[in-house]
């Protein structure tokens, strides 16, 4: 008997107390928890910004008209010059200046030589201060936001879900997903938190507010 058959046989024997006609749906799963832990009417974009900042990431809020400027400000503050650029990142957003943009595809060696990477996001989670990447347009391969020491992520306000439940419902599980909550960190030495071990040690997030023509 193969290990597969052996294990399945053992499982069925172990579950002799489960009625033969019981199907998974017969086991009740209560769902009394809240799908969102935001308060009614709460400004979830502001909450997202605060929660991201709690992880010691830098958060900037701007609008579409000032986005390029905000990117320039962030890059200047970090003193970075060689930046990875994923396919699908809108070229018109890139500020003019001395920055060297390295377009994907980039091999590992090329990634090591970069100061950082700039990407869009797939979703945000307000309550937990999380950004989610799904390797879609403007986000790059997973390695792009991992190997370089700095990650600048641009997220639009309408991409921000209230909480984990809504975010998961928006995402495609078929794509490789990376949930990022602040820079990489460890508390392995005497439980003292240190930011930056193997992933990027610095994380900047720029939130682009909705452009709503109905409101001034």
């Amino acid at each position: 008997m193969s290990s597969r058959e052996a294990i399945l046989t053992r499982i069925r024997a172990a579950l002799a107390d489960v009625p033969a006609d019981e199907v998974p749906g017969d086991v009740p799963v209560p769902r009394a928890y809240r799908r969102s832990h935001t308060e009614p009417g709460q400004d979830t974009v502001t909450l997202f910004g605060e929660r991201v900042a709690d992880y010691r990431a830098n958060v900037t809020r701007t609008d579409q008209a000032h986005l390029s400027e905000a990117i320039a400000t962030a890059l200047t503050a970090r003193g970075v010059s060689h930046l990875g650029l994923p396919d699908g990142f809108p070229a018109e957003l890139l500020p003019s200046g001395d920055w060297k943009w390295h377009q994907e595809p980039l091999d590992t060696e090329a990634l090591v030589g970069l100061d950082g990477a700039i990407t869009l996001a797939a979703a945000g989670i307000a309550v937990t201060g999380t950004i989610v990447l799904d390797t879609g347009p403007g986000q790059g391969r997973r390695a792009l936001t991992l190997v370089p020491d700095y990650h600048l992520c641009v997220i639009r306000a309408e991409q921000i879900a209230d909480d984990v439940s809504d975010a998961l419902a928006r995402l495609d599980p078929g794509l490789p997903l990376t949930f990022i909550s602040g820079p990489s960190a460890t508390s392995d030495i005497e439980l003292e938190r240190v930011e930056g071990v193997h992933g990027p040690r610095s994380l900047d997030v720029i939130i682009v507010d909705r452009t709503d023509p109905e409101r001034p």
Binding site: V18, P24, P105, T128, S165, L168, S181, V194, G196
Partner: protein, 483 residues
């Protein structure tokens, strides 16, 4: 730690918990480290759990999802197999540790590589994979900072989440300085014990491994049966490195880690980080479904591990332990763990969860002292995000231990005691003997450890020396004449 028990769990066995605990209690530095560490995580966990007013509802749902899964585990595992295969992964089934080690070793050998990078994984520790790979000439590099500390020190993990919790910064600095050069990039000569510098040294030490490794081995926190999506929850980014850069990824996952749907992750991704590190969300969570063209490993193998889990499933009281998501909240609230640390439990699974999981995985007869390594205070049950009733399982396993023992010295002593207590003449004689014998054994009015068959009782508790005369004797002398 290459010794695996007869069921294939890395099992350190001797010394038994009471002996190991006594030794640990004699180490003030260890107790100070543990008290500070567990206290810190406890406070953080309480703060972020109380942010969610429906915490109890989330726990109820998590427990119910796990119950549904375990009652139909065969169904969900086959569904998972189908989903992972459809997404380009290869599923392997491993009955026990030997089976799993053989499968992983063969997969690594098929790539022609002699080195693998590893993400911290309880399952691979449980089966002693690193040691097995070493015998086959394959070096496994642990990449989690704490696991690196443990590996460089040829040490054992003492906590599920922070395995090097027993080491302080100076010990870690000395270890890095002495050992890093043997394995790869040496530590800087002027390395201090600042955690920031130590983390930087680990970053440099492992970077070359990440960039050159062709094979990675991981565990899994969850896998959703409906989509075949595997989840790894981590903090440092070493997990992302292992999951992303190598060509081949081998994931060893206990069969109980499957959850029915991708949407069910919404419950666990809220409970796990808050219970584990006391964060609203851990820095990095990676999910992948099979392989993706042009991104990450081109070959993905999922090894489904039994290794005693189906035996656990067969126990209708004990099976709830399979719901464990390895958050270690129960360790951090346990008054016993806080004082003894993790090594005393003799297993990769320490603390309250270890006391109920290890005996079931290795057979209760092989870990008979562990169900007694608890005061039954119930703090672990309150803290558990999936509501495992650990005290209930502890008492259940205690009963099994005693039933399994048969004619032990303790049982014989109890039988003899019943005979003596039934007869006033025998009792009187016994009490006189005890007064003489007990006082001979006592030091400063206490009887400590005794040799022979009384060891089991006296090992873990002192007994007051019996008085010079029994109450019955005193009564006869002083009061009987008054009647």
């Amino acid at each position: 730690m290459s010794d695996t028990g007869n069921r294939g769990v890395v099992w350190l066995g001797a010394p038994s918990f009471p002996d190991a605990a006594r030794e640990a209690l004699g180490t003030p530095q260890l107790r100070a480290n543990l008290k500070r560490a567990t206290g810190t995580i406890r406070d953080k966990r309480l703060a972020v759990a109380s942010e969610l007013g429906d915490w109890e509802d989330l726990r109820d749902t998590a427990a119910a999802i796990k119950q549904r899964t375990s009652r139909h585990l065969d169904y969900y595992l086959q569904q998972l197999e189908q989903s992972v295969t459809a997404a380009g992964g290869v599923v392997h089934w491993a009955s026990d540790a030997a089976d799993a080690n053989r499968i992983v070793t063969a997969l690594v050998q098929a790539t022609g590589e002699r080195e693998v990078v590893k993400i911290k994984s309880m399952a691979t520790q449980e089966i002693g994979l690193n040691e097995h790979l070493a015998e086959a000439g394959i070096t496994a590099y642990e990449t989690d900072l704490a696991e690196l500390i443990v590996q460089l020190g040829d040490d054992r993990p003492s906590h599920i989440l922070v395995p090097a919790i027993h080491k302080n910064r100076t010990e870690i600095r000395d270890l890095f300085t002495a050992e890093m050069g043997q394995w790869g990039q040496a530590a800087p000569e002027d390395l201090t014990d600042d955690p920031r510098e130590l983390a930087e040294a680990a970053r440099r030490h492992l970077r070359e491994k990440f960039l050159t490794a062709k094979v990675a081995v991981s565990g899994a926190n969850f896998a959703s049966a409906d989509t075949g999506t595997v989840v790894v929850v981590e903090s440092e980014g070493n997990g992302r490195m292992c999951l992303t850069l190598p060509d081949t990824l081998i994931t060893v996952m206990g069969i109980e880690k499957v959850v029915p749907t991708f949407a069910d992750l919404e419950v666990f991704l809220q409970l796990l980080p808050r219970s584990a590190t006391g964060e609203r969300m851990n820095p990095y969570t990676s999910t992948w479904t099979g392989t993706t063209d042009g991104d990450g490993p081109s070959a993905f193998h999922l090894v489904l591990l039994d290794n005693g889990r189906t035996d656990t499933l067969a126990d209708t009281v004990g099976r709830q332990v399979l719901a464990c998501i390895r958050c270690s909240a129960c360790l951090n609230v346990c008054p016993v763990f806080e004082r003894t640390g993790g090594h005393a439990y003799g297993s990769v699974y320490p603390g309250p969860i270890g006391a109920v999981l290890t005996p079931q995985l290795v057979g209760v007869e092989n870990a008979a002292t562990l169900p007694f390594a608890s005061t039954l205070c119930g703090a672990c049950y309150d803290a558990c995000p999936v509501k495992i009733n650990i005290p209930e399982v502890l008492t259940h396993l205690r009963a099994k231990t005693v039933e399994g023992k048969g004619r032990t010295a303790e049982a014989l002593a109890m039988k003899a005691a019943a005979t003596v207590l039934d007869s006033p003449r025998l009792l009187s004689a016994a009490q006189m003997a005890a007064a003489v014998g007990g006082r001979a054994l006592a030091r400063k009015g206490r009887i400590g450890r005794l040799p022979g068959p009384m060891r089991g009782w006296s090992d873990t508790r002192d007994t007051p020396a019996p008085p010079a005369e029994s109450f019955r004797t005193w009564w006869r002398k002083n009061k009987e004449g008054d009647r």
